[in-house]
């Protein structure tokens, strides 16, 4: 099963301050362990929300709001996608991550085609498979 691991933003990441060399080196080592174990499928950092935007859908209309989103406590600073056998395994891996200082990280399971029942019709399943094949996304 796949999990998305969401690393929350903090004042530093929102200010566009990059991690120091020590943390980068520790994170590099950790990432290497994840890759060696065949757990890591993807991992990225995101630019601060001040460079981002939001599109809100309401009453059939869209409104664009430019970042930063100061009122939001739950901004994402980066993420991994992991392939593991259980939620517990994901938690065990995450516990070994070189975070400190009250960092908060969220673990969320990804919907797989087999999670769906008959409402995900054979036509929709084929369409989904075609999409993933053409994107070359690993799952």
């Amino acid at each position: 099963m796949r999990f998305v691991i969401l690393v929350k933003a903090d004042k530093q990441s929102e200010a566009g301050i990059l991690p120091d060399e020590k943390l980068l080196a520790a994170m590099g080592k950790y990432n290497e362990e994840l890759v060696n174990a065949g757990v890591m499928l993807a991992g990225e950092g995101l630019h601060a929300s001040s460079k981002g935007a939001r599109v809100r859908f309401s009453g059939g209309k869209t409104t664009v709001i430019d970042g930063p989103f100061a009122e939001t406590k739950e901004l994402v600073a980066g993420f991994w996608i992991w392939e593991v056998k259980s939620r517990d395994e994901a938690i065990q891996w995450l516990k070994r991550a070189p975070f400190d200082g009250g960092a908060e990280v969220e673990i969320r399971q990804v919907f797989e085609a087999e999670d769906f029942g008959a409402e995900f019709t054979p036509e929709l399943r084929q369409q989904e498979e075609r999409l993933r094949e053409r994107m070359g996304q690993k799952k």
Partner: protein, 143 residues
């Protein structure tokens, strides 16, 4: 440039374990996904089970502490994401605006940090990251 489009569905923070999207919504979204794919901008996409099935790990004082979902204090949560490759922020916003979003859904658009965005000392410390992504089978803008 790569962008994450983060789908934030209103009320998903309270969804019970096992909540599934409805077929009509999925069919509508698949049409949109196909338009992204046909335009050659789609790199990856996924939907996430509700936070009530998830967990959070916090690291106060370097010690991991696990809290099971749901997260009572969360006002908005992630429902899914798209990773797209486009030429500008404007193009990303235009794509997000075409999404068949439901009432009160929000899509947050955030640029992905590319290796080339980092100053040289950070690039040095993060050496091997791009190779690591490649080994993980990940599609990045460089490939």
């Amino acid at each position: 440039m790569r962008f994450m489009m983060l789908m934030i569905p209103k009320g998903y923070e309270q969804a019970t374990p096992g909540t599934m999207p409805d077929a009509e919504g999925v069919a509508r979204m698949m049409k949109y996904n196909e338009s992204l794919q046909k335009a050659g901008v789609l790199l990856a996409l996924d939907g996430l089970h509700p936070p009530s099935m998830g967990a959070r790990v916090s690291f106060a004082g370097g010690k991991p502490k696990v809290t099971d979902g749901p997260f009572a204090e969360a006002k908005e949560v992630l429902g899914g994401y798209w990773m797209i490759q486009v030429k500008s922020m404007d193009e990303a916003v235009a794509w997000a605006s075409r999404c068949p979003g439901s009432e009160n859904e929000v899509i947050e658009i955030r640029q992905v940090q590319e290796f080339a965005d980092f100053p040289s000392d950070v690039q040095k410390a993060a050496a091997g990251f791009v190779e690591m992504q490649a080994q993980a089978g990940q599609r990045t803008s460089g490939r």
